[in-house]
């Protein structure tokens, strides 16, 4: 049973690395439940999130938001408000006669919003506009101004909005903004009408063009290349795929902690094998897992999403670059997992920390809230999140249609992150286990 031992040649190191990789692969495939969770949960995540986000707009269009209206005015202006609300196709209106009743229904969450139109809104608005118009025309010698003493002393009319306390800030803001625009438009229309009545005897004669002169148009910059119209799929697949890729730090760190607990790590420490080789085997396998995860995500986006009524993922001409980004994002995630697995002493340490840390990285990386919408300090912090680098690279490829050179900065950062975390793991291990 004797044989000569070889020196540590590259071929021997490679043999050890291959053996480590094979062992990791066996361990992974022997845990079929774990493997299923590893691949299916990220898919479930991206499907659910995309369905929810894509459905938000459809829900508004198809199901409409139920709102209450208390029409204290009952005349022209309130009719105009009600017409505009109906035309927006976003709301299902229910009329109530009492403000207190409407307030109670909003307070208990039955309705998200109640709009209270004040009494005499039409009368007072017309009166105010007429006085102002008469005053202006008098300045041009076209009539008599109403003496100041005869002008009505009016208080500002309030259209009151009751919001369910549970509604989100962004919803409240967009409703307030919409109502504000609507009221401004009605006021402007009233002014035009008052002028029309004063300067023309024929009420059907059209003196003013009351249609808006300034409009806006949304254009996707394309830099001369074919433009990609962003949709929920193009946004969600990169963001949530990255999230799923980084979640690999959990099974990886648990795998390493398990080795410590079951004694195999003790044996490895007595073997003539470097920690780099041990980590190398894990890196190869878990990076492969990340890439398979990514491929599955793409397949889901391309073939399953259309069947679910979601926009199809468009990867045409971008596939190689997408895999380049996924490769480096996977490396960064694996590096983090290696560091966590090296430092953690128990699964109770590694699992909650890993899960929470990934969520934090995702949050500051802009997976949930765009970076530009964050406070200045968080924007600066987001530059340190590898998920931010990965997300930018994915958006560059998916939505900005860039080439390889444009993503070099991001993939460079992801590579540096892998090298830094893997080095930290090695240094920590060697300091901890120096003999």
């Amino acid at each position: 049973m004797s044989f000569s031992l070889e020196l540590e040649k590259p071929s021997v190191i490679m043999r050890k690395l291959l053996a480590s990789t094979h062992k990791e692969l066996l361990l992974l495939t022997r845990d079929l439940g774990g493997l299923a969770v590893l691949f299916l949960m990220p898919l479930a995540l991206v499907i659910v999130i995309t369905l929810i986000q894509d459905g938000t707009f459809k829900t508004i269009k198809q199901h409409k938001i139920p709102i209450l209206v208390v029409d204290g005015d009952g005349e022209e202006v309130s009719q105009s408000i009600l017409e505009t609300l109906k035309e927006s196709d976003m709301f299902a209106l229910s009329l109530k006669s009492s403000e207190a009743e409407a307030e109670a229904l909003v307070q208990n969450g039955t309705y998200p919003l109640a709009i209270i139109i004040p009494e005499n809104l039409t009368k007072d608005l017309n009166s105010k506009v007429n006085e102002n118009v008469a005053g202006i025309l008098a300045k041009f010698g076209l009539g008599e101004d109403i003496p100041y003493s005869e002008k009505t002393n009016r208080t500002v009319k309030e259209v009151r909005l009751y919001f369910d306390p549970a509604t989100q800030f962004s919803f409240r803001n967009s409703i307030k903004s919409g109502i504000g625009q609507m009221v401004a438009k009605i006021e402007t229309q009233s002014i035009y009408t008052a002028f029309q009545e004063e300067v023309s005897d024929n009420p059907t004669e059209k003196i003013f063009d009351t249609e808006p002169f300034i409009d806006f148009k949304e254009i996707i910059p394309s830099s001369g290349k074919s433009a990609t119209l962003p949709n929920s799929t193009q946004h969600n697949i990169p963001a949530w795929t990255l999230f799923a890729i980084f979640f690999i730090i959990l099974p990886l760190s648990i795998n390493m902690v398990k080795e410590k607990n079951q004694g195999t790590f003790i044996r490895l420490r007595t073997n003539p094998v470097s920690y780099t080789t041990v980590l190398g085997g894990k890196t190869v396998v878990f990076l492969a897992v990340a890439l398979v995860q990514f491929a599955l995500m793409l397949l889901i986006g391309m073939y399953l999403f259309p069947l679910l009524g979601l926009p199809q993922l468009d990867v045409s001409g971008r596939l190689p670059l997408l895999f380049v980004v996924a490769f480096f994002a996977g490396l960064a995630a694996v590096g983090l997992g290696l560091l966590l697995g090296t430092v953690a002493k128990s699964q109770e340490q590694s699992a909650p920390f890993g899960a929470t840390f990934v969520v934090i990285l995702a949050a500051i990386g802009g997976v949930w809230v765009p970076v530009f919408a964050m406070p200045r300090f968080m924007q600066a912090l987001s530059n340190l999140s590898p998920m931010n680098w990965g997300l930018n690279a994915f958006y560059d490829v998916f939505l900005r249609n860039v080439g390889f050179l444009e993503i070099v900065p991001e993939i460079g950062l992801l590579s540096a992150f892998f090298i830094a975390t893997a080095l930290m793991a090695k240094v920590y291990y060697e300091r901890k286990n120096a003999v």
Binding site: F3, L27, R30, G263, T264, R267
Partner: protein, 247 residues
């Protein structure tokens, strides 16, 4: 083969030394038993010799090498059989052995041949393809042993290699170790089975409170000790009958 000079180990936060100023020489070809009550320092001593723990002070050499200068070369020369079953439960015995054997850089062909021979000798050939988690304690101990000797080490450290196994497995393990010793492997082992140590070891050292309280050939130690009929009598006489509980 092994020269230990004034070796000490004090764990962080501990008030006492687990191993204190211990010196010992073990010659090539010996089967040397480290005996002692719980907490005496046996496992700590073996852990330092196997590169698992850093000594607080003192030094040692194995086959003329030390870890600070020749870590990999020294690790190639030693084999370790830890007290725990240091095996992957979801891998088969063969897969475990292939992996740990590969970590010594052994060529595949030689490794496969070696695994087969050891499995045959220890009665595990028919179970090579079974997952370790389905094995009995005795079978796991035998696979654990093979994983430490696949590369033909010059020095083999065993930390209680027969604990918790039936008589048959113990006999198989000890017979295999004897054979290895006859083939030239120096063996250092710890055990609480004093009868086993008496029959198996060429020399023993009884350790207590981190120090060697006596060492020598088992028969000579028994003869030197007043009213001692066996090694257990020597052990109790030297270490006392007080319970050794540690927390």
């Amino acid at each position: 083969m092994i020269q230990i000079n004034n070796l000490s180990k004090k764990y962080k936060g501990s008030d006492f030394y687990s191993v204190r100023d211990l010196s010992l020489n073990i010659s090539e070809g010996e089967i040397f038993g480290l005996l002692g009550p719980n907490g005496a320092g046996k496992t700590t001593l073996i852990s330092m010799l196997c590169a698992l723990l850093k000594p607080s002070s003192g030094d040692f050499e194995i086959d003329g090498l030390n870890y600070s200068e020749n870590e990999n070369a020294l690790k190639q020369r030693i084999g370790t059989v830890p007290q725990e079953y240091a095996l992957y439960p979801s891998l088969t015995a063969y897969e475990n052995l292939m992996y740990f054997g590969s970590m010594y850089g052994l060529p595949q062909k030689a490794l496969k041949k070696n695994i087969q021979e050891h499995l045959d000798h220890l009665g595990l050939a028919d179970f090579a393809g079974k997952k370790v988690k389905t094995f009995s304690g005795g079978m796991k101990r035998r696979v654990n042993l093979i994983a430490g000797i696949l590369h033909g080490p010059k020095v083999l450290f065993l930390d209680e290699p027969t604990v918790g196994v039936d008589v048959q497995s113990r006999n198989a393990i000890l017979a295999h170790l004897k054979q290895l010793n006859q083939d030239g492997t120096t063996i250092i082992y710890t055990s609480h089975h004093l009868n086993e140590a008496e029959a198996f070891c060429t020399r023993v050292a009884i350790i207590d409170h981190g120090r060697i309280v006596c060492q020598g050939i088992p028969k000579e130690l028994i003869a030197q000790e007043k009213n001692a009929l066996n090694l257990e009598d020597v052990f109790l006489s030297r270490t006392g009958k007080a319970l050794r509980d540690y927390a």
